[in-house]
Symmetry: C2
Subunit: 226 residues, 2 copies
């Protein structure tokens, strides 16, 4: 095996994005809205997980949801239909990510005042979304069992920027060669502060613990309001 | 649910890429090398599938392999170790795709003369790789059962540009709500010429039919040499 490096990145675009993201985060903190950014591969169960979490939390929190997709409105419609919360479909014109300026434009459309929790379902992709701070308070990444426990090694930036990792589809652990401890240790090597929740969005296993974490984070944001 | 469009794309970058891709394709055609570009989500089984296909074909074809990854060299090393063919790891500096110019730079490192078949394992991503013609003769996309049969609706461009779709992990059909006919009809609506192979790279089911298709495509390329 041999190796070749074919490109280097211009860092300035990320620095500018980081500044825009800080403004979003500051504004949402001041109004007491927790902003969570959910990321993952396509097909890892983001929408199913979000529907299940929102339905568990909507009696206790005022929740809003935004969904990024290239073309379709399937996910935002599904969230709206299955949870009743207000959802906004963001079409990003075929790009593989949403950045802070795009998020800011979406927030002009979606009045977030009075929300306790704003959820962004990012585009299904382990590369680009990791590079752009959206202004969220916390990044939540879903790693599903069928994808394999080597994903953190292959997409390290995604796991470096993830505060929380939901290991989803644990009801299928018997059918795949997925070692949760191996996945966790690879992620902790990239990000020693990562928090893990094993879940099955399909069966509901483990979701209560994720809700408890979200409720605690909402309390943290609100306790900072003077 | 409401909707907002936050960006439009500049098409000229794709037009320039298309011209570079045509040069690569023409050169490989003239030397009788079939160039296949394998794309999919992360964790759909690209490397496992390629190892299985290469081991079935290496007695009949002279094969080369190139692997794009952001950081690691895991996949190229795995292909080299498990098949014995010459593999090149392409590091693309964190980008979500490889374009034709990057492919051309990799081809300077990887002398393709005498190869019957050159395989590119693209980065695991359903968005960016679909946008950039790499110069391959055929695009092969892997859709794995655990990802769900709605992926063609959510990532339509990937399926528009795919000549062949391998429906992988069919050994797990009993455990997931995946309707192969629904997936096929969604893909055919986007691309009426798409060809399908149901496979399990793990058990080997269906791989002989894929090998037959590859052998026929190699014959087609070589029959064009004067």
């Amino acid at each position: 095996m041999s190796e070749v490096r074919v490109i280097t990145i211009n860092q300035s675009v990320f620095a500018q994005n980081d500044r825009s993201a800080e403004i979003i985060r500051k504004n949402l903190t001041e109004q007491g809205t927790l902003f969570l950014n959910f990321m993952s591969s396509p097909g890892s169960g983001k929408t199913t997980t979000l529907v299940a979490l929102i339905n568990r939390l909507k009696g206790r929190l005022n929740i809003g949801e935004m969904d990024v997709d290239i073309e379709s409105s399937l996910d935002a419609q599904r969230v709206a239909d299955l949870t009743g919360v207000r959802s906004l479909q963001i079409h990003n014109g075929g790009l593989c990510h949403i950045d802070a300026d795009m998020t800011a434009r979406a927030l002009v459309e979606y009045d977030t005042k009075g929300l306790d929790l704003l959820i962004l379902e990012n585009i299904g992709n382990l590369v680009c979304p990791a590079e752009f701070d959206t202004g969220a308070h916390k990044n939540v990444t879903i790693l599903s069992v069928p994808e394999g426990d080597d994903k953190p090694l292959k997409y390290p930036l995604m796991y470096q920027v993830s505060d929380v990792v939901l290991i989803n589809k644990i009801d299928t652990l018997d059918y795949f060669d997925f070692n949760p401890e191996k996945a966790k240790s690879s992620i902790l090597a990239l990000n020693p502060n990562a928090v893990f929740f094993p879940i099955s969005a399909k069966t509901g296993e483990g979701l209560d613990a994720v809700c408890d974490w979200i409720l605690a984070e909402v309390d943290t944001i609100k306790s900072g309001i003077l």
